[in-house]
């Protein structure tokens, strides 16, 4: 097995163009497990740990450009107020050791339906910056996940960064696991309020072949809130709206029975999580005094 260790993004892209079968590795929290269990024997590993451009985040206008290898720990510590939903999801990843090594770039590269940050990326309209020697593509998260562990990257592309809108609006992430820490999601829900767009983003994880947006739930809630003027003059939400939102999130799922939980449980739990995250987000919105604007 070749071990390629570029020290710049340009070198990394050249290497990836030369050897498109090379598997990128940063924290190694997924790739090393596959290697250790002999589930995967790529002809080459492309080590991104020396590529400094990938390990920084910057403010770019209204967005954070989050380098692909910025660790979950740094997201929690440094970006908690600007990317609250992502930080909440990062907090649920693995153990402290895993959070020190793992990154959103790795989550995207693996494209597991159970990856913790995916629903947040979908709900917050994140955009994946894919780069190659041919140039840069900006891929909306909603177009990134193609199938179980399949994503929209071309063979010669690397994930350089993810662009997420900076927000002070409420975001929530909640994940069911059968242990109180260090557990893979049985199912998860992310919710983001976009008052400036008069819209709600909602997405679910670990309950379909890919992470996915709950489009009908988003449309229903966005319409409810917009039609009743709630963005400028928010009032407590009627229970019927919260319940309907939960139902629609659950209906967006296509869960299976597996060793972590039953399909029926996943649908049930998604509805509960959707109701609760909406309650929490809306309470935050009310508390923030948006009615006075």
């Amino acid at each position: 097995m070749d071990f390629l260790s570029p020290t710049s993004l340009a070198e990394a892209l050249a290497a990836k163009a030369r050897q498109p079968e090379a598997v990128p590795i940063a924290g190694g929290t997924d790739v090393m497990v596959e290697l250790n269990f002999d589930q995967r024997r790529p002809s080459a590993l492309l080590d991104l740990n020396r590529v400094a451009e990938l390990s920084e985040w910057t403010v770019a206008g209204e967005h954070i450009r989050l380098g692909a290898t910025v660790s979950y720990t740094r997201i929690i510590d440094e970006l908690g107020t600007r990317l609250p939903g992502l930080a909440m999801a990062a907090r649920t990843v693995g153990s402290p050791q895993i959070r020190n090594r793992g990154s959103v770039g790795g989550n995207l590269g693996a494209a597991s339906p159970a990856g913790d940050t995916h629903p947040v990326l979908l709900a917050t309209d994140a955009v994946v910056e894919a780069v190659s020697v041919r140039g840069t593509r900006m891929i909306p998260a909603s177009e990134f996940y193609l199938g179980v562990k399949r994503n929209a990257l071309a063979a010669d592309e690397l994930i350089a960064a993810v662009h997420l809108p900076i927000t002070s609006a409420p975001q929530q992430f909640a994940k069911v696991g059968t242990r109180n820490a260090m557990v893979i999601a049985v199912c998860s829900v992310a919710l983001a309020l976009h008052p400036e767009q008069g819209r709600v983003g909602a997405a679910l994880g670990s309950a379909a072949p890919t992470p996915r947006r709950a489009l009908a739930a988003e449309a229903f809630l966005s319409a409810e809130l917009g039609d009743t003027g709630q963005w400028s003059a928010p009032r407590p939400l009627p229970g019927s709206v919260v319940t309907r939102f939960g139902e629609l999130v659950a209906q967006a799922a296509e869960p299976i029975d597996d060793v972590r939980g039953s399909a029926a449980y996943r649908r049930h739990a998604l509805a509960v999580l959707a109701r609760r995250t909406l309650d929490w987000a809306w309470q935050d919105y009310l508390r923030a005094g948006h009615g006075g604007e």
Binding site: G177, N180, V186, V259, Y265, V272
Partner: protein, 784 residues
């Protein structure tokens, strides 16, 4: 079949002696104060904390090659043929072996030799070893392994233990599919009672989940034998089985314990022991084998899954009139220790209660599920979940609380068990329950200051208090300590005292396996107490000394502690005799203290180092507990057990009733340990045992479907984390057992037994659900 083109040298003699491995188990020495009843630092503590302790997976030899195991992908199949030709062509391969290469008897087993070292014409479980490969690199060995062609004729697996008892399964072993049926009959089999509660309970398959995978290093010896460095629980039983399989005299198979990363029963059976030795003898090279985590799930036995049907009859005050039960234990493909597990579940099947009329039937059977055997609690765990669930049902039927129903039926010293055995030492069941019940309850979670870590779901942010209901539950259990049913249970210890650099030093040598529990510390403490010597070394455990028995059944402090005490007494007697001659005194007027012999008559003293000079005093003792007897195969009557251990738990849980997620808020435990030999280690055992019981209650299960393991990894076989295991309130009672050394009572297993039913009772209290199966899954609570 034979291996005509095998590149290895099949000769089992060697021209040159191999050096010892580069990393070997070393002597553990501490020179600190700390006798019996104190908590000195473990001699291996600093090494382990610094990551410097050599576990068996760290063993290394300059000349070694690597062994791997080809395992059956099928739970049940006939083997039509095995073709190793292609595997032998892989460069770097040293040997490819099948059952025809087993030079001795191709059978082993703890209680009956029913398991092949390598499968012959049939495989009986998924993961059964079929062939071995040795190669210069583990990767090479694995590649070659995949090129072994095994032609299987797949058969339907037998997976239902109750169906086996009913006779509705094809024969899996020549002697029949029932490994053991043990009835217990006491009093009137047709007794009736005004209050009757019934229930059927199920226990899933729990794994020991030790952190250090199976591993060892076999080094061929110039005498045609083999030296095996291995992580195990019982060196001598391994030695006997390995020798039989290799066709060697026992003295040609020498074992040394290597660093053990936990055991909990899962290392009682052989795993890679014979395999590594076979490869070493065939290749003439040291062979290292290390399972990875996934292979480990296939490579050791698990806790028997169980179905338990119970009927309790009581008077209107809740006093038990009768218990009738049928217990079905799924032993999987091979017997392992199933007969003894059956005995425990049967003889302890009504729990720590006085019951005048008992009819229990317990079966352990063969299926094509993964083999099951020893695990902490050993049959008592399964029974306790059922009888404690029944006691709660009875409390409800009678209209009293869960503590009160248990107090009204609690056994005590002098009680007669269903086997007819009279309990002749402390049995403070009622006091243990009163103590946990009297402890203050933890405060409710304050919704104004929510810390997610304090809520069900933890940091995954599933609730801020919504749907959360608190519940409290109780459990109490009973466990036999040491080996039972007439087994000749003994341990051997050698103690040596000499002067080293002008300081008196003692050395302890046994074959008792330190598996992480801290036995090495306790043995040092005993020597310090008995000989007044501060510097004590524990030699590596090996088979050059006599058998110590297994590190299981909560017995090692009792048994090897007893043997070390006996050997120390023999050394003491010799030292006092020497000093008496030196001082012109009578030995009975002399005592050992502070590295000297002191006269209690006139205060005269002689320093031990000076007394010994260049001489050493060394004594070996073989020590037995009082004898037990087999139970009657028809009535189950007999004095089967040496000693009983008891623990009680109170569990407080918060349940998110909408999501079915549980957080155990607090566990309170009271346990009688007779004598706390090392109080800190006792607390560690109680915490660890309780945690293992918590795991069974809410998350730990090897999920099996049609004989196949669905979750052979720590990704999906979940064990409690620090956020799952709550703080504990622990009361340790020390009611001396006059039959045991220092009055001690085995500690390790009782807390595992009672924490599971206490936690499930608490979840029931929070949800109102029946919850008859462990582990309780979220779906069981939400009904989805």
């Amino acid at each position: 079949m034979t291996n005509p083109s095998n590149p290895s040298n099949p000769s089992r003699t060697r021209d040159t002696a191999l050096s010892a491995p580069a990393r070997v188990p070393t002597e553990l020495t501490t020179s600190v104060p700390g006798g019996v009843g104190s908590s000195p630092h473990r001699p291996d503590a600093a090494l382990k904390v610094r990551g410097e302790f050599a576990f068996a997976s760290d063993l290394w030899h300059e000349d070694m090659v690597w062994g791997v195991t080809l395992r059956s992908p099928h739970p049940h199949a006939l083997i039509r043929s095995i073709d190793i030709t292609d595997a032998l062509t892989v460069p770097g391969v040293r040997a490819v072996l099948t059952h025809t290469d087993v030079p001795g008897t191709n059978r082993y087993g703890l209680e009956r030799p029913d398991q092949p070292v390598l499968a012959e014409d049939v495989v009986r479980y998924q993961g059964e070893p079929v062939a071995l490969v040795a190669a210069d690199h583990p990767e090479t060995a694995r590649r070659a392994m995949r090129r072994i062609a095994v032609d299987y004729q797949v058969l339907d697996p037998v997976v239902d233990a109750e169906a086996v008892v009913a006779g509705a399964a094809p024969l899996l072993h020549p002697g029949g599919n029932i490994v053991r049926h043990q009835p217990i009959r006491r009093g009137d089999p047709d007794a009736t009672a005004p209050v009757v509660v019934r229930g059927t309970y199920r226990v899933g398959m729990q794994d020991q989940a030790f952190l250090g995978p199976e591993s060892g290093l076999a080094v061929p010896a110039p005498d045609g034998g083999v030296d095996l460095y291995v992580a195990t629980q019982w060196l001598h039983v391994d030695q006997r089985q390995v020798a039989i399989a290799l066709g060697l005299p026992v003295d040609r198979v020498r074992l040394t314990l290597s660093g053990v990363g936990g055991a909990f029963g899962g290392r009682e059976d052989l795993s890679m022991q014979v395999h590594a030795c076979l490869l070493a003898l065939y290749t003439g090279r040291p062979v290292k084998m290390v399972y990875n985590r996934q292979e480990s799930f296939y490579g050791h036995v698990h806790r028997h899954p169980a179905t338990l049907r119970y009927e309790h009859g009581a008077d209107r005050d809740g006093r038990l009139v009768y218990v009738r039960a049928e217990i079905f234990l799924d032993g999987g493909a091979y017997a392992s220790s199933t007969p003894a597990v059956v005995a425990n579940a049967a003889t302890l099947g009504v729990g720590p209660y006085e019951v005048p009329n008992v009819a229990v039937d317990c079966w352990g059977v063969y299926t094509n599920n993964p083999p099951c055997g020893a695990m902490r609690g050993f049959g008592a765990v399964q029974a306790a979940f059922a009888y404690e669930s029944q006691m709660d049902r009875l409390a409800e039927a009678v209209g009293v609380g869960p503590v009160e129903i248990r107090l009204r039926n609690a056994m005590r010293r002098g009680s007669t068990l269903p086997t007819g055995q009279v309990v002749d030492s402390a049995a403070p069941v009622a006091e243990l329950l009163r103590r946990v019940a009297a402890k203050p309850l933890p405060p409710p979670v304050d919704p104004a200051e929510v810390d997610l870590r304090q809520l069900p779901g933890g940091v995954a942010n599933t609730t801020h208090g919504e749907g959360v209901v608190r519940g409290v539950g109780y459990g109490v259990g009973i466990k036999n300590i040491c080996f039972s049913e007439g087994f000749d249970d003994f341990s051997t210890a050698r103690v040596r005292v000499e002067a080293v650099g002008g300081e008196v030093a003692a050395t302890v040598h046994t074959a008792a396996c330190e598996v992480g529990q801290g036995l090495v510390t306790v043995l040092q403490q005993i020597v310090r107490t008995e000989l007044g010597v501060r510097r004590v070394s524990v030699l590596p455990m090996d088979t050059s000394i006599g058998d110590a028995g297994s590190t299981s059944a909560s017995r090692q402090t009792y048994m090897t502690g007893g043997a070390v005490r006996a050997a120390s007494h023999a050394v003491r007697d010799r030292l006092l005799a020497m000093a008496a001659a030196e001082l012109g005194a009578t030995a009975t007027d002399l005592v050992l203290a502070g590295g000297a012999v002191l006269s209690t008559r006139d205060g005269a003293a002689v320093d031990l180092a000076a007394l010994l000079g260049a001489d050493a005093v060394e004594r070996t003792a073989e020590w037995r507990h009082r004898a037990t007897e087999a139970v009657d195969p028809v009535t189950g009557q007999g004095n089967a057990h040496v000693q009983y251990g008891f623990a009680a738990h109170r569990a407080v849980v918060d349940v998110d009733t909408e999501l079915g997620l549980v957080r155990v808020v607090e566990l309170a435990c009271a346990q009688d340990v007779g004598r706390a030999m090392n109080p800190q280690a006792v607390l560690g055992q109680i915490q660890g045992g309780s945690a293992q019981g918590l795991g069974l209650a809410v998350m730990e299960e090897i999920q099996i479907s049609a004989g196949r393991i669905r979750n052979p990894s720590f990704t999906d076989y979940l064990i409690p984390t620090v956020l799952d295991m709550p703080p504990m309130r622990i009361d340790v009672l020390e009611l001396a057992d006059e039959h045991a050394p220092y009055g001690l009572r085995g500690v390790g297993e009782p807390p595992t037994i009672s924490s599971t039913p206490a936690i499930v009772a608490a979840i029931r209290a929070a949800t109102g659900l029946a919850l008859t199966r462990v582990p309780v899954r979220p779906e069981h609570i939400t009904g989805t």
